[in-house]
């Protein structure tokens, strides 16, 4: 069974440019998470989807970040415009259900804004 797939693995962009990340969760997983992880720290939740509905986006900086999961399967996370402080690893995870069920993570996208 394929795991959570993210692309690209690495992205280097200049500040003020847009960038998008893509995530394909494990088949059948209705919950999808986007996390931001700074070096050596724990992941911080940006947004959580249950199917196509964003049920928790309280930590998403909505002035520049947006996300969608139109068909309740794969998802994209966009930043426009990117700032230097956005440099981090963006992790996608999925789970079958919520509330303590195991979350499976992708390898992440390492973003560097220069």
């Amino acid at each position: 069974e394929a795991g959570v797939v993210q692309s690209p693995r690495y992205k280097i962009i200049e500040k003020k440019q847009p960038v998008a990340f893509w995530c394909n969760p494990i088949s059948g997983h209705n919950t999808l998470y986007w996390y931001l992880q700074n070096l050596g720290q724990g992941p911080e939740l940006l947004i959580r989807y249950e199917n196509e509905e964003a049920v928790d986006d309280s930590q998403l900086p909505k002035d520049r970040f947006s996300a969608e999961r139109l068909k309740g399967v794969d998802s994209t996370l966009k930043i426009q415009p990117a700032e230097l402080g956005d440099s981090a690893v963006y992790l996608c995870a999925s789970s079958f259900g919520t509330g303590g069920t195991e979350a499976f993570f992708g390898q992440g996208t390492r973003l560097t804004v220069v």
Partner: protein, 112 residues
Amino acid sequence: TQLLEQSPQFLSIQEGENLTVYCNSSSVFSSLQWYRQEPGEGPVLLVTVVTGGEVKKLKRLTFQFGDARKDSSLHITAAQPGDTGLYLCAGDPASGNEKLTFGTGTRLTIIP
């Protein structure tokens, strides 16, 4: 605001030694998970504990959930270089908002 504080933040020990990593919070959790993350990879789940006082063993790793479900510990016996990584605890708050919240992490290095 991090609900889960992990200690120590960094730990470097010799192969064969024992160690304990702690995960503490003032909040109550319905369940708590431990993950290990290696460089360039996403976190991988090691264990989930759901009952206060629960102890789970995974080979040389022993996980304990506090009686009040506010804290947890991970004990590794006879550490090996393959145990090196970032250890993360993650909790599902009992408040019902169902947000899997991660701790601050413990970076463990086992010296051969």
